[in-house]
């Protein structure tokens, strides 16, 4: 009887505590939610503004203070697709897609085995190797620009997709190795050992176990490499001219020092961002899973 009463008391106490805490938690949650919304809006507002401006005429886009309710037009997009300029964006978009997709595939092909050798079957001094990968990102990219330009000129690779693929692969490889290592470390070794005991060879283990389990991680890594390659401007603007010009370089061609260009540039920026946004939305679930997997680690 006594124990029942004690239990009941403790339950009611717990309820009382719970009833006191719950509103506090809710308040804090609401506050955090509000802060998250504010930050979200701060990040999204410029993008929304860019999209809105892309549907305005040049004169409306240039007004100060900016006009929210100016008449909408598709002139900016028509201009991007060459209606008023005679310049098609397709070669630049295709070049960007080629350089980004091929370099991302190469990065994956190289980073997954490398990450395996640094996590599941770590090589000797693997932490030094990881640090070495990191050091390659410490040199400011612009410092390598002139030597790369001269090498590309000497080897006849200027203005070619091959050069961009090589550069983007080497630029993204260290990040990919770090990311993939953190994802592969999550895979319990016992599963791999069990597969080995069942007679699976390395390729089978990769194909049937490692790649399916680290799928979200691979998706996250691919997307990040793709985005970095797609958005790269510095090297592309210096190393390409007419044959291998990429979308970000094409985008800058709408800026002029004589006349209005804000609406045109916004429309071009929206169009150029579109493939990345689509890829991001398509891989949203995998991306969140992948990034949180790495974060937990």
């Amino acid at each position: 009887m006594t124990s029942v009463v004690t239990r009941a008391t403790s339950v009611s106490k717990a309820r009382a505590v719970g009833s006191v805490r719950r509103p506090r938690r809710t308040k804090r949650g609401a506050l955090l939610g509000l802060v998250a919304w504010i930050f979200g809006l701060i990040f999204v507002t410029p993008v929304l503004w860019m999209i809105l401006t892309s549907f305005h005429s040049e004169t409306s886009a240039a007004t100060n203070p900016p006009s929210l309710f100016a008449p909408l037009t598709l002139d900016g997009y028509a201009n991007f697709f060459g209606a008023n300029t005679g310049a098609s964006p397709w070669p630049a978009l295709i070049n960007s897609a080629q350089a980004s997709i091929i370099s991302t595939l190469l990065v994956l092909a190289l980073s997954i085995p490398a990450a395996y050798a640094l996590s599941i079957r770590p090589v000797r001094k693997w932490s030094d190797v990881m640090f070495f990968f990191l050091t390659t990102k410490m040199l400011p990219m612009v410092a390598g620009l002139l030597p790369i330009y001269l090498i590309a000129k000497a080897t006849g690779l200027l203005d070619s997709i091959i050069l961009l693929v090589i550069l983007y692969t080497s630029m993204n490889l260290p990040i990919a190795v770090w990311m993939m290592r953190s994802f592969l470390s999550e895979i319990p070794v016992e599963i791999l050992e069990a597969a080995s005991i069942d007679g699976a060879n390395l390729l089978t283990i990769f194909r049937r176990i490692i790649i399916p389990i680290s799928g979200p991680g691979i998706a996250a890594t691919s997307l990040i490499c793709f985005i970095f390659s797609w958005n790269e401007l510095l090297f592309a603007s210096v190393l390409t001219s007419t044959q291998a010009i990429t979308a970000p370089v094409f985008l800058t061609s709408f800026v002029t020092s004589q006349g209005l260009f804000l609406a045109k540039v916004c429309a071009a920026a929206v169009a150029v961002s579109f493939p990345v946004l689509v890829a991001g939305f398509a891989a949203q679930d995998k991306l969140v899973q992948g990034l949180s997997l790495g974060a937990v680690k």
């Binding site: 001269l150 390395l202 044959q243 800058t252 020092s257 004589q258 006349g259």
Partner: protein
């Protein structure tokens, strides 16, 4: 052993992916070399006249000659960086580029350009004699023509005729800077929210120092004297800069320290300023169909103090890179793009207000152009014909140039000085402080040429 063979298989697989990918991209990257001599790669500044050229090329030039033209359009600063990188390394990626009369003499001196004297300039239908003499001279080095102008510009003063009438004031046809300052004070605020004048305050040798150097010239100042001694902190240079900074601070546009050509163009179009001293190239946009100020703008000569005139001279011109692979096709392209025939084509298809003008005498005499540009063509012609790049001020100069000094070091030096002058407009330092720093920079450059 077993492990090694598996690793080798993996490695082989990865290599195959890499090779396939590179091969694929190689296919995509390769241009067709068989038709290479029928292709001209052109690097251009992204100004409206160049966009028109890009639009008209395929249906006209390519159709007539079979020569395909690949254009790369870049904003002005990016173009300068790219052209400098391309021409200095003689990379040969571009056959033709738009260069200004600031770059052409030094590029020619360095042997980066192909002379056009024996090709384009010798062609009778091109009519080299029709090119305005001052402009042709600014693109000539050692007696050889190295570039042909696409369009030219000088500077003049633009003002709102309706606002001046409302304020009961009149603009003289050849104003002095003091008259302009007085008028700016009188029209400032006549229309609520409208300031007296717009003057560039944005840092950059091609921004604030384009108009400011012409003001310095007419006040009697100079960047360098004949013996290359710097004159940046001379009384005349300081007086001119103080005048400019005080005028823009007292009656100039809002955010003057960040205002360049585009911002001032917006300000005049949107009724935020009553006057603007800048390039004659603005006339096309201001008088274009749909412009809110079309027909309301008056144009008068660049204001003066001690000189008879003070307009600048600038041109975007086509030059051929010496390492360019298609020299003949490049020359043919320039013959077409800088020709009278092309001006007529633009006039007939896009309208005479969009003609890349102000480079040929014949354009000013063309009745169609005169009709379309009635508001400004006479003033533009007078401005361009009156300039003398060899002698723009009151003292002899060591190098040609009106709003610049035609030496490669000028761009960096003037850009650095402009940052301080822009700070003076923003009230962060005084003009004397800004120019004292500028003098030290300029003297370093001058000393190199003294030796």
């Amino acid at each position: 052993m077993f492990k090694h063979s598996r690793a080798r298989r993996l490695l082989t697989g990865a290599s195959m992916v890499a090779v396939a990918a590179v091969a694929l991209s190689g296919c995509a990257a390769g241009g067709s070399s068989s038709s290479a001599n029928k292709v001209v790669n052109v690097l251009m500044v992204n100004n409206p006249q160049m966009v028109d050229l890009q639009k008209l090329t395929a249906a006209n030039f390519t159709k007539q000659t079979g020569i395909k033209v690949n254009y790369t359009l870049l904003p002005e600063n990016d173009l300068r960086a790219k052209a400098s990188q391309e021409f200095s390394s003689q990379a040969g990626q571009y056959d033709v580029a738009t260069l200004s009369n600031y770059e052409v003499p030094s590029y020619a001196k360095n042997g980066w350009l192909t002379s056009l004297s024996g090709t384009v300039a010798a062609d009778k239908t091109f009519d080299q004699a029709d090119i305005l003499p001052a402009m042709a001279k600014s693109l000539t080095s050692n007696g050889q023509i190295y570039a042909e102008p696409f369009y030219g510009e000088s500077s003049f003063l633009m003002y709102r005729k309706d606002v001046f009438a409302q304020a009961g004031v009149t603009m003289p046809s050849n104003p002095t800077w003091q008259q302009v300052a007085d008028l700016a004070a009188k029209v400032d605020g006549v229309v609520p929210g409208m300031k007296g004048i717009c003057l560039r305050g944005q840092p950059g040798w091609g921004q604030i120092f384009a108009p400011l150097t012409t003001v310095v010239n007419t006040f009697g100042g100079t960047w360098f004297n004949k013996d290359w001694s710097a004159g940046v902190n001379s009384p005349a240079f300081e007086e001119a800069t103080n005048f400019y900074v005080n005028l823009v601070k007292a009656h100039g546009e809002a955010g003057a320290a960040q205002s360049g050509y585009t911002e001032c163009l917006n300000n005049l179009q949107q009724g935020k300023v009553a006057m603007w001293y800048d390039s004659t190239a603005a006339e096309g946009t201001l008088e274009a169909q749909g412009s809110p100020v079309a027909g309301k703008i008056g144009y008068v000569a660049a204001p003066v103090v001690k000189t008879a005139n003070s307009g600048w001279l600038y041109t975007w011109a086509f030059a051929v890179q010496k390492a360019g692979k298609n020299q003949t096709a490049a020359a043919k392209f320039i013959e077409w793009a800088s020709s009278k025939e092309y001006e007529n084509l633009v006039g007939k298809t896009l309208g005479w207000s969009r003609v890349p003008a102000d480079k040929r005498t014949s354009t000013f005499n063309n009745p169609d152009y005169q009709k379309s540009a009635a508001a400004f063509y006479k003033q533009t012609q007078t401005a361009i014909e009156s300039v003398d790049p060899a002698n723009p001020g009151v003292q002899p100069r060591p190098a040609p140039g009106i709003q610049f000094v035609a030496i490669p070091e000028f761009a960096d030096m003037a850009t650095q000085v402009s940052q301080d002058v822009s700070s003076a407009i923003a009230g962060k330092e005084t003009v004397a402080q800004a120019l004292a720093k500028g003098q030290a920079l300029a003297q370093k450059v001058g000393d190199k040429y003294k030796k």
